[in-house]
Symmetry: C2
Amino acid sequence: MVDRATTSTTKTEIPEEIAGLRMTRQRQEVYRILMEQRDHPTAQEVFLKAKDSLPNLSLATVYNCLEALVQHGIIRQVNFERESSRYCPNLREHGHFHDARTGVIHDVDFKPGCQLSDFLELPPGATIDDIEITIRGKIPTA
Amino acid sequence: MVDRATTSTTKTEIPEEIAGLRMTRQRQEVYRILMEQRDHPTAQEVFLKAKDSLPNLSLATVYNCLEALVQHGIIRQVNFERESSRYCPNLREHGHFHDARTGVIHDVDFKPGCQLSDFLELPPGATIDDIEITIRGKIPTA
DNA sequence: GCTGGAATTAGAATAATTCTTGCTATCGGT
DNA sequence: ACCGATAGCAAGAATTATTCTAATTCCAGC
């Protein structure tokens, strides 16, 4: 049985509140799964994993939790083409590289000192709220 | 009534075949709408416009046409968050700037001589098939 | 321990897109 | 010009990810 009487778990320790968001058991579990398994899972995948410790979790709750975490800037939602959304606890500004061979999504960091405006002819005076860079390509098997 | 006996129209001239794709009346119309109205319309929007000249066009056909055009590299599909796909006849490599204020999507070109690998820590040996850069931000009203 | 607001659940609803089926147009060969 | 083969099209059903709704449960503060 799972320890339900205290906040402490044998797993990763997660505070009761992050960024003003009350971390319920479901939100903790969802967040912990994202932190432990950083391969950008879908809501469905998170749901399946989370059911191990919260057997009567519902998929809607996973969506709710993910949305709450996204809204509070604790995780990021990543969309690739029209596939299911994926979720990512890496808050550093970074892009995503989809390996067409394996389907794996790698985080790719920006090189230090790089300014996007050095690259793009942005509309004059434009302010940037959010950037999404997705690259599809192949990584040699070697 | 619409001239159906010849290939020539009073509108933009479109060849009977592009990149090996037979340009049927429906595909021509879809393509012409994208070329004339370069604001990244959705399938639905293309459908509504196209119905003017092809009254018994179906939405499924618009999707078919768009897919055929995308497959043949004649247009590009653009996805933003989980919204409806949008379509773009601009084949130059470019990004998209979503103005949060107006909802308008602007094409943004890469500055000449820019290499994405100068910016990103790509996995070693990675080859790039396709890049998608989307920026959300605001453009001053002035 | 009660209570009100927030969170969760289960299932229905929604919306974009794709699939299926039967019909129609077009093409290449005669 | 005709004919069979093939590709394209239309209409509506089906699919799928996600959101919504309503009812229950949980929890923090009193």
